[in-house]
């Protein structure tokens, strides 16, 4: 049919240019048998001839009838326009509907001012084109849906966008029902052009035909099986136009388990969902389900990580028994936020008791390192009663960490701290770690003369503890090699190094502990610039100048809001 339509212009052009009455001479014998409906109409709009095909199409039409009484207005008006105009306007075909078919009408002059109208049935091509354009629109919608939905990993936001897009492109209203949390279902409703509402409701999903099946991941129930009258009120969004006329309930397939179900609604006034629309709804639901599952998975993972991190992240530090502690931690960008560096402050039970400060670094990166870090921090906590003897603590810690499977080790510094009058008394022990630095009141920077073996890899460890005293204005700094091994600087790829660290510390006489930490962190961060870096951790402490004027004693009340 479509190919036949293409023949017409050549027939027409054959008839053109013939000297006299071309229609009668050439097409005269052709048109009565033509497979196309053909009407010959005089200049006043009277039907002159009607061929067999045209009689099938317009059974009432007969010779002598007025054209406008027999054909739709688009054709009779086109004829009138031709009569008004010049012959030059003949080239233009026109098109329109006759009953449920679609026709292109090609006019050719037939002498005497008569016009021969060839009606070419174009219905199928039109349908094919509409289908194609629908398919393009749908592909666009699906691709937009995917990119929009995958841009967020937040579950409520993802549901909000899915419902809004479904209401915009698939139906008049969309309701997304997520799997139950306990006995309640998170319900997200969207009406086209209206707001999206989200709530968690105790609803009976069995009331909606096909919904409980969809939530269990069964294939969707065909839309024509669902009686719109059965749809309960909670499904219909506020201000929905009129009673529900047509419903689709489709599952949102997840990663193995359903991510929820999507209910699409149309009011009675608009046409019912077609099969094609049902297929399209399923395609959309597949994308929404995948995005929603990814978001849910991410949220669960992140919640687990957050719980872990709550345990593993270093605490915010403040003042304990007249000594000020400040800590800083900058995780490497290369791996998990919880890295191999750690620090803790275990306050003494009273001002007369020592507070134990621990700062350390676990070999390796990522989760393995984080697990070992957690183990060390927990073990040290358990060993607190023995903290009077750093060597003993390290021996026991070493024993607890030894494994025949790996040689992952840790290096750390223990500092037992107690304030007496205006001075802070310290016992410092390094277990294979960079020795603490002490900023003296005169600006000299000393390295504590403690040395010992790393823990966790060797059968036996040794350690040498040193004692020292901090006068007012003097600060002790514990740090990890992430600071001194920070690479960068103005000339590039240089280590920050101990020399620069000492130079920076020399300027820190009399500074509050946080200011010392901030200063060192700032210099190291500047040094690195945009380069990569390892974890960096540091703890500074010194004698608090006065009592506790801000009413904040103890630690853990400031810092990151995680």
């Amino acid at each position: 049919m479509v190919r036949c339509a293409r023949c017409v212009p050549s027939l027409v052009s054959l008839s053109r240019g013939s000297p006299a009455r071309p229609f009668d001479d050439q097409a005269g014998t052709a048109w009565p048998e033509a497979p196309y409906p053909v009407l010959v109409v005089d200049r006043h709009g009277g039907l002159v001839r009607v061929n067999a095909a045209a009689r099938l199409l317009l059974p009432d039409a007969a010779r002598g009838d007025r054209l406008h009484e027999r054909v739709p207005a688009w054709l009779s008006q086109a004829h009138r326009r031709l009569g008004d105009g010049t012959p030059g306007t003949f080239a233009g075909a026109t098109a329109g509907r006759i009953d449920d078919r679609f026709f292109e009408a090609h006019p050719t002059p037939a002498g005497d001012g008569d016009i021969v109208w060839w009606l070419v049935d174009d219905t199928d091509r039109r349908l094919a084109e509409t289908a194609l354009s629908d398919a393009r629109t749908r592909t666009d919608v699906l691709s937009e849906a995917s990119s929009a939905l995958l841009s967020t990993l937040n579950v409520p936001r993802c549901m909000e966008m899915a419902a809004a897009m479904a209401a915009e492109h698939l139906a008049e209203a969309a309701v997304l029902v997520a799997p139950a949390q306990g006995k309640r279902y998170p319900v997200t409703s969207a009406r086209r052009g209206g707001p999206v509402t989200q709530s968690t409701q105790k609803v009976n999903v069995a009331e909606v035909p096909g919904l409980s099946e969809a939530l269990q991941g069964f294939p969707p129930v065909p839309a024509r099986w669902i009686n719109p009258a059965d749809i309960p009120g909670w499904v219909v969004p506020e201000n929905f136009a009129g009673p529900v006329g047509s419903v689709i309930v489709t599952p949102l397939p997840g990663h193995g388990v359903p991510a929820g179900a999507l209910i699409l609604l149309r009011s009675g006034t608009e046409h019912v969902f077609s099969e094609g629309e049902e297929v399209f709804a399923r395609l959309f639901a597949a994308r929404a389900g995948a995005a929603l599952s990814a978001a849910r998975l991410y949220t669960e993972q992140a919640a687990i990580t957050a719980t872990l991190m709550h345990e593993l992240l270093p605490p915010a530090l403040r003042s304990v028994h007249g000594v000020e502690y400040a800590g800083g931690y900058r995780a490497s960008r290369d791996h998990e936020r919880v890295g191999g560096d750690f620090y803790d402050v275990h306050p003494g039970t009273g001002p007369a008791e020592e507070t134990l400060v621990v700062l350390g670094d676990v070999a390796g990166k990522g989760l393995d390192a984080a697990v070992l870090t957690g183990k060390i921090r927990n073990t040290l906590h358990a060993l607190l009663p023995l903290a009077e003897d750093h060597g003993r603590v390290l021996e026991l810690l070493n024993g607890a960490l030894l494994s025949s499977h790996h040689t992952r080790f840790a290096t750390l510094v223990l500092a037992s701290v107690r304030r007496r009058d205006h001075q802070v008394h310290l016992r410092l022990t390094s277990a294979g770690h960079l020795p603490p630095l002490i900023v003296r009141a005169d600006g000299t920077v000393e390295e504590a003369a403690t040395r010992g073996t790393l823990v966790g890899a060797l059968p036996d460890v040794t350690a040498h503890t040193v004692r020292t005293v901090l006068a007012p204005g003097e600060t002790c700094l514990l740090y990890t090699d992430g600071i001194t091994e920070a690479r960068g600087g103005p000339l590039g790829d240089e280590l920050f190094g101990e020399r620069r660290l000492r130079r920076a510390l020399a300027e820190c006489v009399g500074m509050p502990a946080e200011a010392v930490v901030e200063r060192v962190q700032m210099l190291a961060t500047q040094w690195i610039g945009t380069g990569r870096h390892d974890d960096m951790a540091l703890v500074a402490f010194n004698a608090r100048r006065n009592g506790s004027p801000t009413g904040v004693d103890g630690y853990g009340d400031s810092g990151r809001d995680e």
Partner: protein, 361 residues
Amino acid sequence: MDHSTEPATLVSRLWRAAIDADEYTAAGIVHTALAEGVDEEALLLELIAPVQEMAGAEWAADRISVAQEHAATAINERIVASLAHRRGGGPRSAPRGRVTVCCVDGEWHAFPARLLAEVLTLRGWRVDYLGAQTPTPHMIAHLHLTNPDAVLLSGSIPTHLPAAHAAITACQAIGVPVLAGGRAFGPGGRWARRLGADRWAADAREAAAALDAGVPRPAPSTARQAVDDLPHLADQEYTLVLQSRTRLVKQTLIELEDRFPAVRDYDEEQRERTAEDLAHIVGFLATALYVDDPDLFTAFLVWTADILEARHVPARSLVAALDVLADELHDFPRARRLTRLGVTALGERSPSSVPVPGVPA
């Protein structure tokens, strides 16, 4: 001792206590004012913030040491923490909404962000304060979890603008709008707009007002890359200058030694300081290429000249460095133009000009 609660008096009293690292007195001033009925937001923005500004300005003028500047910041941080502690955590009633306050990746000036977080909390927002040590990917992970109404991105140093741009596009790509603030974003926030931030606010009160007015979520489908906002980046000048940054610094240092005998006699530390200054110049040059605005570069040079002269280092060394740099950058027309404009700006600078408070300190 003057116990007046008159604002200017309070500021100067708090300033003295802060640079002396006298937390006791400093906290006393603030808590007394609070007890006498001074509004907490006013304390944060009209007492503590000006003292913090002064710390930057006084350091720039070489009237206080680095140690004093850090001490003042630490005291201010502690006072802010004590106010928050006194208030108890979180908003009292149902929050207005949830927002994330974060510094640009690489920025270490956290104090303005901290003040903003406190002001928004006081105004009833639920605030997640991520501070200054949070890499952008971690911030994005946080946004996925919390789905805030907006991110408030704070930056003080313009060289972090490319990082800010990355953060802005990343937030918007997941449908979270960004309100930028801080000196890094330039006079009137002009670079915030250039980088596609949804809003810019000059201070905490403007930020709160913008949030109250509502910031619509960006359509996730409008995800874009840096070059979409800044088509001039296609000339690769920014990329190439930044990539060759250390080579440029080394080369310029060698050239300066050739041309100036004094530089040849520098000891190791002076040499390193000079290299750091050169690295800053190249860093600001690259950033000016990034946002395609010479003002970013010239403002930095003028400020640096002031800093140097406050320390009795002649600012003409900057002109010499720019001359050498211009030779090194002969293949880069935009960069060469910047160096020329830089020399002009330094020439037009009035030698007595007062240092801009707070810009990169």
